[in-house]
């Protein structure tokens, strides 16, 4: 082997013999090099991509998809800070409006204890339960005054898609070290590589931690190394295996477990997912939900969990009503004993309290103001009960 020949050469020419101390010296030197490089190399901060919806009080702190740093929480200042975790159900998209529901609530809250409210939104499309655990881990490291977690009724206890965004595993690893009750979820979804990269990133933040940005640069610089010209031709049709490779696992499993006709509308498909949720009764989801309660309890943060309402026209259907009733009962069982004076959760969800709104499908609302009003009321009540003085008179 080339390595053996190299070591033989070192021995013959320089008298280098491999001993255990030589291995220790080389390892120490490698670690030192990594640490020094991490200090010397200029950091490459990630760029948030929410200019369209960010306001002075609310911004999405998620970094671009694939960046293992995950989120970029706002530095703690004089504000009353809220960390709001949720997926696409927390965004209202209507014909003329597009807003984070968290932003609408933040406007209504105005100030707390005389301090203006500042909300970091940990928003990801298609966020799933374990992704929310990872986001919560990042959020708690920024020491927010209040944590709000949206539980999507379609996915919260669904075993079809426990996790969507594996690149957040580093953030999950960081928050899973202690106590041991967190190891079950961590061992299920994390890999040693996730942990290894996380450790290296901690040792050398700007070199290893910022590798996503370095990778983008390297990819951009070297992408054009070719003798051939790019032409605008028609790409060959995708093979069946190619189409399979392009499918998200969740779509594949959903189509297998809840087959539907091509003409089936999205709301009906989502109702099928709800149905699957009831059938699965996934124990790992239950453990992940309880872990989120444990995390906020351990961090000493005030927290408000809520279940987003579904489209009232769908809810009017007997099947949907039954699924939601079962979900409520299951969530009540899963979260029994998890709430306290500072951690609020009503398994009944917001379903019966939000005035009817128009929805795009079963969970995506067009106008979030009705939901924001109820959420504001709940948050104000929680804040008052925990000794804060919220100014809930704002519009």
């Amino acid at each position: 082997m080339l390595a053996d020949r190299f070591l033989d050469t070192l021995r013959d020419r320089f008298g280098f013999v491999v001993t255990r101390w030589a291995i220790v010296r080389i390892a120490a030197f490698a670690v030192l090099t990594l640490v020094v490089a991490g200090i010397v190399v200029e950091p490459r901060p990630g760029e948030r991509d929410d200019a369209a919806l960010a306001t002075s009080q609310t911004r999405n702190v998620a970094l671009p998809f694939g960046d293992p740093r995950g989120f970029d929480p706002t530095a703690k200042g004089d504000h009353f800070t809220i960390a709001w975790i949720g997926g696409s159900e927390t965004m209202a998209v209507g014909p003329r409006t597009r807003a984070y529901i968290a932003g609408l609530v933040t406007e209504r809250l105005g100030t707390v204890d005389g301090r203006p409210v500042s909300t970091d939104l940990y928003y990801l499309d298609a966020i799933r339960l374990v992704d929310e655990v990872a986001a919560l881990s990042s959020a708690l490291s920024s020491k927010p005054d209040l944590v709000v977690i949206s539980l999507n009724p379609v996915w919260v206890l669904n075993d079809l898609a426990l996790q969507q965004w594996g690149y957040l595993d580093g953030a999950l690893a960081r928050g899973s070290v202690w106590p041991p009750s967190r190891w079950a979820v961590a061992a299920s979804v994390l890999s040693p590589g996730d942990v290894g990269w996380r450790v290296l990133a901690a040792a050398s933040p700007s070199l290893v931690g910022d590798r996503f940005v370095w990778g983008l640069d390297a990819s951009e610089t070297t992408a054009g190394l070719s003798f051939l010209d790019v032409v605008a031709g028609e790409k060959p049709p995708t093979t069946e295996l190619g189409a399979l490779a392009a499918r998200r696992p969740v779509d594949f499993w959903f189509s297998r477990f809840t087959p539907s006709n091509p003409g089936t509308d999205l709301a009906e498909k989502q109702l099928g997912i709800l149905e699957r949720q009831m059938a699965s009764r996934s124990s790992i989801n239950a453990v992940a939900v309880r872990q989120m309660f444990e995390m906020v309890r351990t961090a000493g943060a005030d927290a408000y969990f809520y279940v987003h309402p579904i489209d009232p026209t769908v809810y009017a259907q007997p099947d949907a009503r039954r699924y939601i009733a079962e979900l409520r009962a299951e969530l009540a069982r899963v979260t029994a004993g998890q709430t306290s004076g500072t951690i609020a959760f009503d398994p009944q969800g917001l379903q019966d309290r939000v005035a009817p709104s128009e929805y795009r499908d079963i969970v995506h609302v067009r106008d979030g103001r009705n939901e924001a009003a109820v959420l504001t009321t709940d948050l104000c009540a929680l804040l008052r009960s925990t000794g804060h003085r919220p100014d809930c008179e704002a519009p």
């Binding site: 082997m1 080339l2 390595a3 053996d4 190299f6 070591l7 491999v18 001993t19 255990r20 030589a22 291995i23 080389i26 374990v130 075993d159 079809l160 898609a161 426990l162 996790q163 594996g166 299920s188 979804v189 890999s191 040693p192 590589g193 942990v195 290894g196 990269w197 390297a218 070297t222 992408a223 054009g224 190394l225 070719s226 003798f227 051939l228 010209d229 790019v230 032409v231 605008a232 031709g233 028609e234 790409k235 060959p236 093979t239 069946e240 295996l241 399979l244 490779a245 499918r247 696992p249 969740v250 594949f252 499993w253 297998r256 699965s280 996934s282 124990s283 790992i284 989801n285």
Partner: protein
């Protein structure tokens, strides 16, 4: 990506070794060390997808039974019928996958997920988070299994005991991208007292480093050359196509041999000296030397199990043996017509070279120019076969047309 990502596999393996290597060398009992190897490999498969682990548990248990069956009636003249049957049984999953990939890949994912879910709904939920996959590593595992069965049948090795079977089947460094190791490469080490040798560690780390440079620097820089086969979105002059094809050849080599180095280096850290898988193939000057230095583990497998049994060492049958050997090597990649052509093409090269040198013996010491000329000629001959590996039959005429 259906075929998995070797980068993640090796990331996991290398981090895992921080724990596994000390445990392995501290354990005084060989069975415990074998168990550590087996569990490490099994865990790496679990990380790719629990359904893949479940599949390989079944696969290697079946292989264990088949090798026991291979010991039956060994002394009877007709025992080769049973051996052939056992080999065909071992080949069945691979052949089904290659012949009906669309059907088998879907059924593999659905069926094995159902099995895992039945065993444990918790693990079933984890499995559904993982990507949809091919039966990753099955080509390598099948050849390893056949080699084992043949060796047991020929009494080269005794039938493997269960723990040996699992340690060999789940040998952690070769599960995804080979090489096709022989049982005899690891058997002695499995049973002997494990003593940590710092030189093994450093040599392994250096080999991994060399592999990493090949994959993450050299192959990475050349990765754009994969588009040479994208006929509808790339264009260029014939010279451009030749240059791009050369780039692709080096991309292919650095990527494949780099991951092989990482597998071999990782095994070396554990004290296992696996045979090399590449030996500067692009510097060779004749087809025989090329195939003895390119993906050597598959070549060695084919030589042992096809070339020699078919009379490759005898003048009268050597050409048939060469063709059979090259067809096995070619069809190991996939069961397609272009790969049949690939096998025949390289058979022709090997036969032509053998025929030529028997009539025009090559002097032992040739001049640099002559050697360089032979090297270039061989490399061009090899380049012309790459489209057969990468393209469908219908696209081949257009691609070759662009080279002229």
């Amino acid at each position: 990506m259906l075929d998995g990502d070797p980068f993640h596999y090796f990331s996991d393996l290398l981090v895992l070794m921080v724990v596994v290597v000390p445990v392995y060398f501290l354990l005084p009992w060989a069975p415990a060390r074998q168990l550590v190897l087996c569990l490490t490999g099994a865990y790496l498969l679990f990380l790719i997808a629990p359904r893949l682990l479940a599949f390989y548990v079944v696969f290697w248990l079946v292989v264990y039974l088949l090798q026991l069956a291979a010991t039956l009636w060994r002394d009877r003249p007709s025992s080769w019928v049973l051996t052939t049957l056992l080999v065909l049984l071992t080949l069945t999953p691979l052949v089904v996958w290659k012949l009906r990939p669309e059907w088998s890949v879907v059924e593999f994912n659905v069926g094995m997920n159902g099995f895992v879910d039945w065993l444990s709904p918790w693990t079933g939920a984890i499995d559904r988070v993982r990507d949809l996959i091919l039966p990753i590593g099955l080509s390598f595992a099948t050849f390893r299994a056949i080699d084992q069965i043949v060796k047991v049948r020929l009494e080269i090795v005794p039938a493997l005991r269960p723990l040996h079977q699992l340690a060999y089947g789940f040998f952690p460094t070769v599960l995804v991208i080979g090489p096709v190791i022989e049982y005899t490469e690891v058997s002695d080490r499995l049973d002997e007292t494990a003593r940590w040798d710092p030189r093994d560690t450093l040599s392994g780390v250096l080999t991994i480093g060399i592999g990493a440079i090949k994959v993450f620097v050299l192959a990475y820089l050349l990765r754009g050359s994969q588009d040479v086969f994208a006929l509808s979105t790339r264009s260029g002059s014939p010279a451009d196509y030749w240059l791009e094809l050369v780039m692709f050849a080096f991309y292919f080599y650095f990527n494949f041999s780099g991951f092989s180095d990482m597998a071999i280096g990782s095994a070396r850290i554990l004290g296992f000296r696996l045979a090399p898988n590449f030996n500067n193939p692009y510097l060779k000057t004749n087809p025989q030397a090329f195939w003895n230095s390119w993906h050597m583990s598959v070549t060695r497998f084919a030589q042992r199990n096809v070339f020699v049994p078919m009379g490759g060492m005898r003048a009268r049958t050597q050409y048939v043996a060469i063709i059979a050997t090259m067809m096995v090597i070619a069809l190991w990649h996939d069961l397609t017509i272009p790969l049949v052509i690939f096998g025949l093409y390289h058979s022709a090269g090997l036969i032509g070279h053998r025929w030529w040198v028997t009539r025009h013996p090559v002097p032992e010491h040739r001049g640099l120019v002559r050697r360089a000329g032979a090297n270039v000629l061989l490399f061009v001959y090899y380049l012309l076969s790459l489209p057969l590996l990468m393209l469908d039959l219908g696209a081949l005429p257009e691609f070759y047309g662009r080279l002229w």
